[in-house]
Structures are given as C-alpha cells and as structure tokens.
C-alpha cells in the first residue's frame, strides 16, 4: 500500500484507541481516502489484513457509508446540502449553478478535472442555508451569486497552480 509515511504513523496510532481492532475500520478508511483520494481494491485488502478482518468486513462498511468512494473524483469536492431547510432557501438552484459553472453533472467530475459536484443530506447548519461543504470548509448562505463567486475563486486557484 502506497501511502505517505505520516499516514502510516497516524494509522498505527489510531488503532491503539480501541480495545478491539475492528473499531478502527472507519478511521483507517478516512485516513486512506484522505491520502489516496479513494478506496481501492488494494486498500480494502490492506485494511482487512491490518485489522485482522476478512475483506468483506471492510467492503461492506465502504458500501454502507456515503462518504467513502471507490473511484477518484475531482481535485475539489463540492457538496451541496439537499435537505429541506436548504431547499427552502434555494439549495437546488445553488447546486445547479455549480454544475453550470463547471459544465458538469451531479456526481460526475468536471471536464477540467477540477471539481466533483454532489448533493448531500443535511449538513447541520440549517440556520445559514443554503450551505455547501467544499472539501473541509463550510460555506454559508450560498445563493446562486455566491456560488458563481466561489466557482470563480476555484478556477482562479486552479489557474494559479499551473
């Protein structure tokens, strides 16, 4: 398994948090996904071995929890809240705007490879609806105008990297 040295270090540390190794399944999946971008077949086998489990024990967890993915996505992950409070204040419009801005569809990676736009369920920030989680940062009151601003910012950052 090809991971950064600090990821291996954190993996070994987190396993010590539990009296039963299997409990470290979710933490390991998070650490591997943060490092490798997604959960590969190899990762499932490696985690199973690491935690002395059968591969199916890891696979069934991966397929149950929405945050784990089996394939790579865009460089940035745009998660728009779909649930009622956000929808009441235009969440669907916000999501549509991001898709238009990056010429992509829900769940797909944009042609430029920069973003993947997804709808997710309630992000527990209903008082500042509509909300959008981009990677690890929560953006609040994201109407269509703000969605376009954020998109421009993402494109500018992408251009600056090249």
């Amino acid at each position: 398994m090809n991971l950064k040295p600090e990821t291996f270090q954190r993996i070994d540390e987190v396993i010590t948090h539990y009296p039963v190794k299997r409990s470290a399944t979710l933490p390991l999946l998070h650490l591997v996904q943060e490092d490798a971008g997604y959960i590969s077949e190899e990762a499932i086998l490696w985690i199973a071995q690491k935690l002395e489990l059968q591969p199916i024990n890891v696979l069934e967890v991966v397929t149950f929890y929405p945050m784990f993915r089996r394939a790579p996505i865009g460089r940035r992950h745009i998660k728009v809240c779909r649930t009622l409070s956000c929808a009441l204040l235009g969440g669907y419009k916000t999501c549509e705007t991001f898709q238009e801005e990056f010429k992509t569809t829900l769940g797909a990676t944009s042609p430029c490879g920069e973003v993947t736009v997804d709808f997710v369920e309630c992000l527990a920030s209903c008082g500042t609806a509509p909300v959008v989680l981009i990677d690890e940062v929560l953006h609040e009151k994201v109407d269509a105008t703000k969605a376009r601003q954020i998109s421009a910012q993402i494109r500018a950052e992408a251009a600056a990297r090249q």
Partner: protein
C-alpha cells in the same frame, strides 16, 4: 405577551467577540473549576444531582438523563463506556455544531464530569464525518486538556483516569440512533440493534454497559454539577427543566439558535418576535417543531384538550402560536420537541413538494435492515417524487398514507416512526393539497423554487 429574554447558559459564549476555542480562553472564563470541585465529591452525589435536576436528554427523545444513568449495569464487572453522540444529523438541528466548534472545552468538561460520576475510564466522541473541522478542534482541545491533567491518567491527582478519543462517522444519519452508533463505533455497518436485549446500559459497546448522551446534554450536566440539581430544576418548568436551544430555519426573517428556559416561550413568540416573523409579504403555513421527523403543525388549526397545571386539570384551546415549546406540550398536540430543530414553511411552499424533499432524505438514510422501513421509505419517495416530476393522481394521497401507516411499530429502531411521521402528518393536515395536486400543478409557476 412579549417573549421572555434569552437565557444563554450552554450558548453563553457562542459568537462572543474575542472568545476563542483554546484552553487558555476557557480557563480565563472559569473553565474546569466545576471539574475540580466535582472530582472531590463522591460520584454517587453527582448522579443524584443529575436526577434531582430533572435533566432530559437533548438529542431528541427527551429521556431523563438521571434515569438513563441509573439503568447502567454496575455489577457486571465489565468496563463502562460513555459515548458522546455528536452525530448531529436530524434535519433542522444545528446546535451541537456551535458548541463543538466554538466552545469544545465545555463539552470536554461535561464529559469528564459525567465519566467520573459513572466510573467510566474510556469515552468516545462520535462526531459526524461531515464535520472534519469540528473533529480537529475537539482533538486539539482534548490534547490541551490532557496536557493540563483534566483528561488522561490520574486526573488532578485524584487517582481517577479517563481517556477521550474522537471517532468520525462517514455520512450516515442512522449513526445518530444509539445502537446504530455503537455498531458503527465497533467498525461495522450502522444497523441498529434490537431492544431487548441490546439496551446500551447493559449490552452496549463491545457488549459492555454504555452511556450514550448528546453533546448538549453533557454540557447541561456540567452546568448542573456547577450550580446543583435543585437550583437547576428551578429554571424552566416542572418536567421540562433547564434551558432549551431552539434552532430555527426556513422561512423566517432571523433564522438561528436561541436559548430559553424550557417551556417559557411559545411557538408564536419564538417565530414572530424572536425570529422576526415571516418574510416580507408572506404568511406562515406550516412548521415542523422538533427536527424533520416531528409531525408537522398547520397554522390555523386548533388543539383542544385537558392538561395538567400544577395539581389541577385545566382546559386548553391553542393555535400553533400558543403552544409552549416544551417536550410535554408538543407531545400533547401530537408532535414532539425532539432535537429543537424548528423548520418553518410559508405560503410559497407546496406541501407535496416539501414532503417529497423529506421523503428523499429518509429513503437515502434508511439502513435497509428492516423491510417495512427500507421498502416503505423507498416507495414514499418514489410516489411523492413522481407526483412532483411526473404524473400526479388523486389516489396518490391515500396510497402514500397507506404505505406510511404500515411502517411504524414494525421496525427494529425508531427510524420507522421517523420516516413515516412526516408523510402521515402531511397527509392528514394537508390532505386537500395532496388530492388536488394534479390540478394545482398546472397553475403553479414553472420557475418556482425546486424542493426536490
């Protein structure tokens, strides 16, 4: 009657200018003083204080915290675990987020006091996967508390040791259900366990006695330890003590979080005065009072019956605006206080479309273990989505209701109730709107806000 003033206890420092989430700031505001006093007391005294306080769990069910603690099996010889339920996921609820992000040490202090009271040596904070920043803040705060000897081995020289670890979920709402949460913490799919026999107090994490408490509940415990159970019980109303945090979202002028002594504010005061009323030119149509699974209330309907007032039974005749926002009053009128998440809808909202949004949520989040819930939530979603995006039929109203009626009471966990209550209540209270949707849809503006 004007709304009472907010009493910020748990949210005392939320959004306070200059208040930061590090240990230094917390200590400057008297932090961990209550812990110091608490670890010098017999643990049983602390449990007694919590019982006397009348504290009811703030996660949604409103179960008395002291009773929960007294059910813990202390004779098995097995270790007792405490899990902080920080999987805040009930749509409309957004209070624990602010505690964890802005005042994490309050939670840690409450947790360690609760652990000490219950002889817990290991606690886990199960936080939503979608709150990575919150998880980092908590981990940093725990490390600071450990360095200051408030967490870890031999806390404050008492010989008592307790460790706290943060455990991240991965996007599944069902992990907020305590036995699903336990399965998830054990590294499995979060399929809830059946009770009996799997009451967490007896057979919880690793088949050991386990206490699962909500973030806000543990902060309330810290406050109870500070002022004493009797003094605590003086705030709020009998049976609904302490403060409650209401999270108001949707169609009001000032959405947000507001903390009041429990039972002292009515729905009308909360929405009209505190939250500034409906948006310009709009009127309130419906409100969901305790997270999206709570049964919807329709503005204009009346609730009549007899209720207890002290020792007497008195008649009540309330409109939605008159209902006191406490667990018992909301239960009396057929809904629930739940997690305190109040979702407001004005007259621009079509109820079929709002329900279709809610149904999509529950279909996505059903763990799939019990057939009535897995299939029922799926068909409720399919039918309501078809009504909005395809052909709507008059008989869909009765069909939806019949699917919903076949779920509750037939599932392992309360998700069955949670997913059917919205459909049942929408169909009872807005029946005309569902039956007439096929016709009404023709004249609804095409550019209206999409809800599903």
């Amino acid at each position: 009657m004007p709304a009472p003033a907010q009493t910020r206890v748990i949210f005392k420092h939320i959004d306070e200018a200059g208040y930061t989430n590090d240990l230094g700031c917390y200590l400057r505001h008297g932090g961990y003083e209550t812990l110091k006093k608490s670890v010098a007391r017999p643990p049983a005294d602390l449990i007694e204080e919590v019982k006397k306080s009348g504290l009811r769990g703030r996660g949604g069910a409103g179960f008395p915290c002291g009773v929960k603690w007294s059910l813990v099996d202390r004779k098995s010889g097995k270790p007792i675990y405490l899990i902080v339920n920080a999987d805040e996921s009930e749509p409309g609820t957004f209070k624990d987020r602010y505690i964890m992000h802005q005042d994490p040490h309050q939670l840690i202090e409450g947790t360690i006091i609760s652990c000490f009271a219950n002889n817990v040596k290991q606690a886990y904070i199960y936080i939503r996967g979608e709150m990575p920043e919150g998880a980092r803040i908590l981990e940093k705060a725990i490390a600071e508390a450990r360095a200051a000897n408030f967490v870890g081995p031999n806390i404050l020289g008492t010989g008592y040791s307790c460790e706290i670890y943060v455990h991240r979920g991965a996007g599944a709402y069902i992990c907020g259900e305590e036995t699903g949460l336990i399965e998830s913490l054990e590294g499995k799919r979060a399929n809830p366990r059946i009770k009996p026999p799997y009451f967490p107090a007896v057979l919880g994490l690793y088949q050991c006695p386990t206490i699962v408490n909500n973030v806000e509940t543990l902060c309330q415990v810290k406050h109870i330890a500070e002022i004493g159970g009797e003094a605590y019980a003086k705030s709020g109303t009998p049976g609904n003590t302490g403060t409650r945090i209401f999270c108001v979202s949707g169609h009001v002028q000032r959405p947000g979080y507001y903390e009041f002594p429990a039972g002292t504010i009515t729905m009308g005061q909360l929405l009209n005065e505190v939250c500034g009323g409906p948006l310009p030119g709009r009127t309130f149509k419906a409100v969901i009072p305790g997270g999206s699974s709570a049964k919807v209330l329709r503005f204009g309907e009346r609730y009549k019956g007899k209720r207890k007032a002290g020792a007497d039974m008195v008649d009540y005749d309330w409109g939605v605006e008159d209902v006191p926002m406490d667990f018992d009053s909301l239960a009396m009128i057929g809904s629930m206080g739940g997690s305190g998440g109040v979702i407001v809808m004005d007259d621009s909202v079509n109820m079929v479309e709002a329900l279709a949004n809610i149904n999509a949520f529950y279909q996505h989040e059903s763990c799939g273990q019990c057939t009535p819930c897995r299939e029922g939530s799926l068909w409720m979603k399919k039918i309501s989505s078809r009504m909005v995006h395809g052909d709507a039929r008059k008989e869909d109203a009765a069909l939806l209701k019949s699917v919903a009626d076949q779920i509750p009471g037939r599932t392992i966990c309360a998700f069955g109730e949670a997913c059917s209550w919205p459909t049942q209540s929408f169909l009872i209270k807005f029946k005309d709107e569902f039956e007439g949707y096929a016709e009404a849809k023709k004249s609804l503006p095409a550019d209206r806000l999409a809800l599903v």
